[in-house]
Symmetry: C2
Subunit: 123 residues, 2 copies
């Protein structure tokens, strides 16, 4: 990626922004990671496990579902239960997540590591 033209910039910006919006939000990443590491979950399970309000959870899951990153399965049990999980399509995000993880780690080092050998705030 050398230098982009005006037009390329705009469309690239749009695509990047789309991606950004898809995974932005306080809970989306955490939800994906939760499914990723622990498999599918029911609605109430998520509420308790993550300590998220049902209202917000419902909204986040709907958005993830809209973007095909999460599947919603109604199980034919009495007290009908609903299971959520990541989709295979979600794997297409891997390069993005991976790049962000790399940069985030490197960046943390850049920002925190080189502040000054003496000076120190931290929390």
């Amino acid at each position: 990626m050398e230098h982009l033209s005006e037009k390329e910039c705009k469309s690239a910006g749009m695509a990047v922004r789309d991606t950004l919006e898809t995974i932005s939000g306080k809970w989306k990443l955490l939800l994906l990671l939760t499914f990723y590491k622990g498999g599918r979950r029911r609605f109430r399970e998520l509420v308790k496990e993550l300590n998220i309000s049902p209202r917000v959870l419902s909204k986040e899951l709907q958005e993830l579902e809209m973007h095909k990153l999460v599947s919603r399965t109604v199980c034919d049990t009495r007290p009908v239960t609903v299971e959520y999980d990541i989709t295979p399509y979600c794997k297409t995000l891997a390069p993005v997540i991976s790049a962000m993880k790399e940069w985030g780690e490197q960046h943390r080092a850049e920002i925190l590591g080189k502040k000054n050998t003496s000076e120190n705030g931290g929390e």
Copy 2:
């Protein structure tokens, strides 16, 4: 990146979140792109060009500067002017932006392109 352990997940999530927060916000991407394609700008120039309020611009630039993505240079002119530009370090973001651009484009096709050839709700 195959399957991550509990611990790996948490730290990866943190790094990803850091990256996300660094470039989230209504103007950050646009600012970076603006510098990228048109070079450095003065404060007022940005206000007019992007139609952003000085209050918000100031905040966004400060945040970008904190993250070393943007440089702030006070020019020794009368009416002192201040020039902002992307830093060389900003280039380290390229893989992230690139991955997000790719996915954003592919995802747009996935969501909009394949709704269904027959079925259709539409609005």
